[in-house]
């Protein structure tokens, strides 16, 4: 099996996802997609849920994809992946296909946390061998920044606006990685675009297990989050360093922490550079920041207990 460095020099693999797309400067999604596809040795079939990735990579009359690619609708990427995988398995059994192929589905947080959760849950439960990647930019960015199940507490979106009666989204983000883990699938991991090696290794592990695998990847959105376009990696990095977005994996039910910050940064470091949290720094909102810090602390403690210090 070639190592990551060797794959990096494989021209065909390198051009699975090409530059012919219109994703914004600073968008984390193409970085996430490239890193994952470049780390997979076997031929891949890509399923794409509706979202920025689908729209901006298949602009009339071009495509950024050099692999078999299918987009069906918003809610059913995992269901389509199930069909492809089942058919592939049948053809393989009858000897019509001899190659080992990998089925990879990409969906945003809207298409995964919300409308696509049912399809994802079904596919995980049925145990299809596929990798589902959620590029999580924490809101419906394709339609102009509406809240999603992934939008964090107190973040401003167009449908969770700030004002006299509202401080942004009043609910907490749902923890999808844990929801997926509860399906007892062989590989579940949380990663970030800032830590490319970690992400690449996780993609390789994910496609090597015999069963469903899931990656939840923090992916920046300069338009929705309101940060400078040339700061994406740094911002995503801050998410990891403040333990807002810890990097961990769950292999056959065993929790492993992948990165332990030497010194945990306070959550304000993550909140401050993003305009969607700007209202939290107005006078009178100190309690909200304290509340967010407390939530993060609790989640982090819980995660540490689960991982039992394994890193």
């Amino acid at each position: 099996m070639p190592n990551t460095k060797e794959l990096a020099h494989h021209e065909e693999i390198q051009k699975r996802f090409t530059g012919a797309h219109a994703l914004c400067a600073g968008c984390g999604t193409p970085v996430c997609v490239r890193t994952i596809l470049n780390a997979i040795e076997e031929p891949v079939v890509v399923i794409n849920a509706t979202g920025c990735l689908e729209v901006a990579t298949t602009r009339y009359p071009t495509t950024a994809w050099n692999v078999p690619w299918i987009h069906v609708a918003f809610e059913n990427a995992a269901a389509v992946a199930s069909g492809i995988e089942a058919a592939y398995r049948a053809l393989r059994r009858r000897g019509k296909i001899t190659k080992e192929i990998r089925v990879v589905a990409f969906g945003g947080d809207g298409g995964t946390y919300d409308i696509g959760l049912q399809a994802l849950s079904g596919a995980l439960e049925r145990g299809h061998r596929f990798l589902y990647v959620c590029y999580d930019n924490e809101a419906y960015m394709n339609t102009g920044n509406q809240r999603s199940g992934a939008t964090p507490f107190a973040a401003q979106t167009t449908t969770a606006p700030t004002g006299e009666k509202s401080f942004g989204k009043p609910q907490r983000r749902k923890d999808l990685t844990e929801i997926v883990a509860a399906h007892h699938v062989p590989y579940v991991a949380q990663a970030s675009i800032s830590d490319w090696y970690d992400l690449a290794v996780k993609a390789r592990k994910a496609v090597s297990v015999d069963g469903p695998a899931f990656l939840n990847v923090l992916s920046t959105c300069p338009r929705g989050w309101g940060h400078p376009t040339d700061q994406s990696i740094k911002i995503a990095r801050l998410g990891v360093e403040t333990c807002y977005w810890p990097l961990y994996e769950i292999i056959d039910g065993q929790w492993h922490l992948n990165y332990m910050p030497e010194e945990r940064l306070p959550i304000v470091e993550w909140l401050r550079p993003q305009r969607r949290f700007a209202h939290l720094f107005e006078p009178g909102n100190e309690a909200l920041i304290a509340q967010i810090q407390q939530q993060v602390d609790e989640d982090w403690e819980k995660l540490l207990r689960r991982c039992e210090g394994r890193a």
Binding site: A25, T35, D230
Partner: protein
């Protein structure tokens, strides 16, 4: 196309493809790259470059590439 050479390695940057997202700048372990005043990437510290290829791997727009062997100009062959 800009070319930055060092020994038998070179780095190529295609400014027309560069959107100035800084993914390469922030990912470079050696601090070789910066964004210039036009928001395009430049290899200002090429002497520090170890040609690891992370910038090429991460660039969402294929604007930067790392080459191990210098391609000789036809006239020099």
């Amino acid at each position: 196309m800009r070319r930055y050479e060092q020994g038998s390695f070179f780095l190529e940057i295609e400014p027309r493809r560069c959107k100035g997202c800084g993914v390469c700048v922030q990912s470079c372990p050696q601090g070789v790259l910066t964004l210039n005043s036009e928001g395009k990437v430049e290899a200002t510290e090429i002497a520090r470059c170890v040609f690891c290829g992370i910038c090429e791997q991460r660039c969402p727009d294929f604007a930067i590439s790392v080459h191990k062997e210098r391609i000789l100009q036809p006239s020099l062959v």
